[in-house]
């Protein structure tokens, strides 16, 4: 199924270990992937997947910062601490937000809850 193919690719790209995550997801997909889809996902080069994952996660961070001026200021004041908070957030909260304000609200809720 194309939708499952796409869902697996998105989940892998948002992971800090994209190649390992992709392999896990393909193995767990069972009949939701046909043989052709399984072969295409399994043939993806690890280097390209790694760079694509870095780009995807960077764009998620940029979207979050675009949604809240105060969060942007906090990131500029202490990039290392903010990046670590973002890593925990990205690992815990699924990427379901199209717009910056939504992502920023979800991050604030996560940090507040944590």
């Amino acid at each position: 199924m194309l939708i499952e193919f796409e869902r697996i690719l998105v989940l892998a790209l948002h992971d800090e270990r994209p190649a390992e995550r992709l392999a896990e997801l393909v193995a767990a997909a069972g009949a939701r992937l046909d043989a052709d889809e399984r072969a295409r996902l399994s043939a993806i080069g690890a280097d390209g997947l790694r760079v694509a994952s870095l780009v995807v996660r960077k764009l998620r961070l940029e979207r979050l910062l675009a949604g809240d001026a105060d969060l942007r200021a906090r990131c500029e004041a202490d990039p290392a601490a903010f990046t670590e908070s973002f890593r925990r957030y990205a690992a815990s909260v699924p990427p379901t937000f199209d717009f910056p304000a939504e992502e920023a609200r979800a991050f604030r809720a996560f940090v507040g809850a944590g």
Partner: protein, 287 residues
């Protein structure tokens, strides 16, 4: 054949618009806008919407839409697509798009958001999915084009991408937005020759061309130290892309316009002169 028009992207970024003011006023023959950048999270017009609409109305120049988030390669999810198409309908009423383009890819799947358009596997299900979504879009803006993607991963034989683009445009009965930097990027990343890539493409489908620059990935990102080309729109247009433009222009019989793209955070007073030089280069190529 009439001469293709020179287009610039209108981005809702105050410093970018200020730095670009002269070329927007003097050089742009049409504008390209990305509706999603003018919406809030409810898909309603944001504060930037009025600014961009004012520039367009004062200029009296044509506008085309260039969407980034309809996700034409996502099967199902009709409620999301319908909300998006309703917003495009509203923007078409406001801007009067001459044509509308979308990235040939997917940005969402199963409620998950990818953050950028991702490539599609070249399969029959993909062709059907894209054709259905383009048909819905074409009921709003009749002339639709799909843009070839820059990719860091291949979901099939990369040398067959032009054939896949030909198949998609035929199945969806739409035009092609030929992004030359994306094609250059894929050729660099997958070891292909740009001339061969372009020779395999049905250039009669090309409705619009994008020209832009990019950057290289940091070798330290990978244990292999391999470097990938990135479609980051933050650098000068490579000489190979200019050469490709000169090569394809006489062969694109249905071409309407060429847009010089540049990211909003990368133009300011320090480098606007270099960008203006690229605008002059593009104008010379089109005349």
């Amino acid at each position: 054949m009439t001469r293709p028009l020179l287009g610039l992207t209108l981005l809702p970024h105050r410093e970018h618009l200020a730095a670009m003011a002269r070329v927007i006023e003097d050089d742009a023959e049409f504008f390209e806008i990305t509706p999603e950048t003018l919406w809030d999270e409810h898909l309603e017009p944001s504060a930037a919407h009025a600014t961009i609409l004012d520039i367009v109305e004062r200029s009296g120049r044509p506008v085309v839409g260039h969407g980034i988030n309809l996700s034409p390669g996502t099967p199902g999810e009709d409620a999301r697509a319908d909300r998006h198409l309703s917003a495009i309908t509203r923007e078409h009423a406001a801007f009067g798009f001459r044509w509308y383009s979308e990235h040939l890819g997917f940005t969402t799947a199963g409620g998950l958001v990818a953050a950028l358009p991702l490539p599609l596997p070249p399969t029959e299900e993909t062709l059907r999915t894209v054709a259905d979504r383009v048909a819905s879009l074409a009921r709003i803006v009749p002339d639709v084009a799909l843009e070839n993607q820059a990719a860091l991963v291949a979901l099939g034989d990369p040398s067959k991408e032009p054939a896949f683009l030909n198949d998609v445009c035929a199945a969806a009965r739409c035009g092609l937005l030929l992004d030359l930097h994306n094609a250059y990027t894929n050729c660099r990343n997958f070891g292909l020759q740009l001339d061969d890539w372009l020779a395999a493409l049905d250039l009669s489908r090309v409705m619009e061309i994008h020209v832009s620059g990019g950057s290289e990935s940091n070798p330290a990102w990978l244990a292999s130290r391999r470097v990938f080309r990135l479609d980051s729109h933050d650098g000068d247009v490579p000489a190979e892309v200019w050469r490709a433009l000169d090569s394809v222009l006489p062969r694109c019989a249905n071409l309407r316009g060429v847009v010089l793209e540049r990211n909003e955070a990368t133009i300011d007073d320090s480098n606007i002169a270099a960008f203006e030089s690229e605008v002059r280069h593009l104008r010379a190529a089109l005349c």
